[in-house]
Symmetry: C2
Subunit: 426 residues, 2 copies
């Protein structure tokens, strides 16, 4: 018994800490929900100013984190801040402040025959829980997107960068205070214990409305498996480019090269190339050559390997999100073959068809059931910024509420306002 | 061991049955997602025609259910069909068929500086699981709403009316076949075991996207506690009417009387009356008299009891959804007092303010965080039909995706279509 009790108490303590964050967030959000656009913009400006004015303090905290870090170079690089990165972080906050206010938008309005006038109006979601790993910029990006959309945020930073996150959150909260806004609109889980993640996924005792995980597959898998509240996330981006029989060859080369190699490690990077058998002989060698010249490894099925030099692809390859300069290649029989392959392997993120045939494009855009479907465009455009949303807190492949890039509009819900003159229901 | 194994196997069998329904629903839905509005309307017309042509068979099944029923009169009344109710059920299907098709709506469209044209377009949610109790009309209502919105439905009927539900589903499926549509768009869980509900709440092995419970508090509580997939539901409708200092007395009497007594048992019925202290003396006696004359029991706080005859209300009363001709009454200090009471006790369903003061109304509509907020109108208008949605599958008080009445539009999600000319991302 004596060995168990301290652990139980500790978990309870952490649950209590997270629940308290939730209550404070809820109270602060009630205030923010009524703030004007100008008040929110002033708060964001003050937050950006504080990030700039506290650069030295934040960089010192970052140096301490880095000195204690045991992770490898990739993690260390993502975690490292300098004056330029901090200035960009402040600039990103200012970009969000310039966005149109998503709260209060009239989404629909109509009159009823009995004289009632009904409006559907956008309101904040409430409290957003953001669980992330080592990227310090998530601290500021998520906070500013939540604030502009009228939501409070509870941040859970990776433990190796908790000091950096604390310094950034201190700056953001100082900015909120400067602007006369409740500081508890932005809160950071102050403990490293993993039980805190569990408490957030359980909804923080009613204090969190939705969870956004920002990080690798292990994190997202845990979040999706354990969360008792809704989650905006994508587990993977297994994106396809389909080169149709009517594809222009140069366009097919350029788009495929960009879709895979511009940044092979982002979720919108293509992982599989499908080539219509009708043009495989004419198009595939040129595409393969361009990719190989750019340093991409190709893994093809038998029909693809007969047309260009590449490694042998297994069925597992077509189910793999490489996030690396590797591309699976299959030759398929027409649009139907491509649709069948995509239906089997797609993660529902983004797929693109290259074709000059409008009818084929329309069928592809209609029948592929992914968050984003494209015609004659690189899958790397699957991004909130590229969509014109200004910024995104993530990309969601779920079907509920938010699908695709999650920007400030997607961080709102709505309510109905009914205006009457004393009507009673017969 | 021997006592446990058969039970395990049985649960596994039921899980397998539900998972199979999910796979069949998913396949059928893929077909429906591509159907034209005309094809969906033809299918709904055929389903309505089959309900009418198979009236005798359905009534016979209903008679068998009723003969075996052990439940009380209220349940028996809800479960009882006759030719008139069946004709109304068919008519309700035809009403849904006449609705605007929610699939394919362009929700937004914009050009990007790089020439990309982006559309957000409504698509079906997928497969809806509906868990209900004894009302046979839910079988047809839910099926038609799901079909019109491009979704497949898996129905779980209350066990005492499974025979009736089976006969109705047989008719609906015959109608689907008549129209050349996949019958598995409408499926009924064929077993009475409660483990089937658990299997649905777990998502039917990926075969169900969202659960809609239709029934009493016990059912909704279980669904909200156990569901691993999103739920569209309201646990209760603890709705408030607030009579503000600037309320017209006759309007306050008429709206309160209607909000409570038109049908005291629906979720949009008012459960609490709040009266501004400034007009309590002038307005409350008239309201109380009208309610008492209509057979309503009043339970008031001390200030209310000082002005009109009523029972004593406890704190528990203000937290109680009576669904009966009983009304809690409190005198509050101005708009702030009403907002504080509502923030504490509301279930987030529907609240209404009665006032001639536009500024007070605007503050109420802005600050009350419920799915539906009203000005000078009866809370009994909280209904998809009254909102002009044609019909509703339920009312949701959650914040995600659907809030308020859930009609065919709320049963859709969306995807992004991106139209390019070969653009690559710099």
């Amino acid at each position: 018994m004596s060995a168990v009790r301290p652990l139980d108490r500790e978990d309870n303590e952490i649950e209590a800490i997270v629940a308290r964050l939730g209550r404070k967030a809820r109270a602060a959000q009630g205030h923010l929900a009524l703030a004007s656009t100008e008040e929110k913009r002033a708060a964001l400006a003050a937050m950006a100013a504080r990030v700039r004015s506290e650069t030295e303090r934040i960089l010192a905290a970052n140096a301490t984190d880095l000195a204690a870090m045991t992770s490898g170079d990739a993690m260390r690089d993502r975690a490292t801040l300098d004056a330029g990165r901090l200035d960009a972080m402040a600039g990103a906050i200012e970009t969000v402040a310039a966005l149109a206010d998503p709260v209060g938008r009239i989404l629909a309005a109509w009159d009823r025959p009995n004289g009632l006038f009904i409006e559907r109006v956008a309101t904040p979601l409430g409290v957003i829980g953001v669980i992330y790993e080592s990227r310090p910029n998530v601290t500021a990006d998520a906070s500013s997107l939540c604030l502009m959309s009228g939501n409070a945020v509870i941040l859970r930073s990776g433990s190796e960068t908790l000091g950096t996150a604390t310094a950034i959150v201190d700056a953001l909260r100082a900015g909120l205070a400067d602007a006369g806004m409740p500081q508890d609109l932005v809160q950071l889980v102050p403990v490293k214990d993993r039980a805190a993640v569990g408490a957030m996924l359980a909804g923080a005792d009613g204090g969190i409305d939705v969870i956004v995980p920002r990080g690798g597959r292990t994190l997202v898998e845990r979040v999706e498996a354990e969360a008792k509240v809704p989650v905006f996330a994508h587990l993977e981006g297994l994106c396809h480019v389909f080169v149709h029989a009517e594809a222009d060859r140069d366009m097919a080369v350029a788009v495929t090269l960009n879709a895979k190699m511009r940044r092979p490690g982002i979720c919108g990077a293509a992982e599989t190339l499908l080539v219509d058998a009708a043009v495989a002989r004419s198009h595939l060698p040129a595409i393969a050559e361009a990719l190989a010249a750019a340093g991409c490894t190709l893994r093809g099925d038998a029909r693809a390997r007969a047309l260009a030099p590449m490694e042998e692809a297994t069925a597992k390859d077509f189910a793999t999100e490489y996030l690396a300069p590797i591309l699976s290649v299959a030759v398929v029989d027409g649009l139907d073959g491509a649709l069948a392959h995509i239906a089997r392997y797609s993660s529902g993120h983004t797929e693109s068809i290259i074709t000059a045939d409008e009818a084929a494009a329309t069928r592809f855009l209609t029948e592929v059931d992914s968050a984003i479907v494209m015609h004659n465009a690189s899958t790397q455009f699957a991004d909130g910024g590229e969509f014109g949303m200004g910024a995104e807190i993530g990309i969601a492949t779920g079907r509920m509420h938010a699908r695709g890039p999650v920007g400030v509009e997607q961080l709102t819900t709505f309510k109905y306002r009914v205006h009457g003159k004393g009507q009673t229901r017969p």
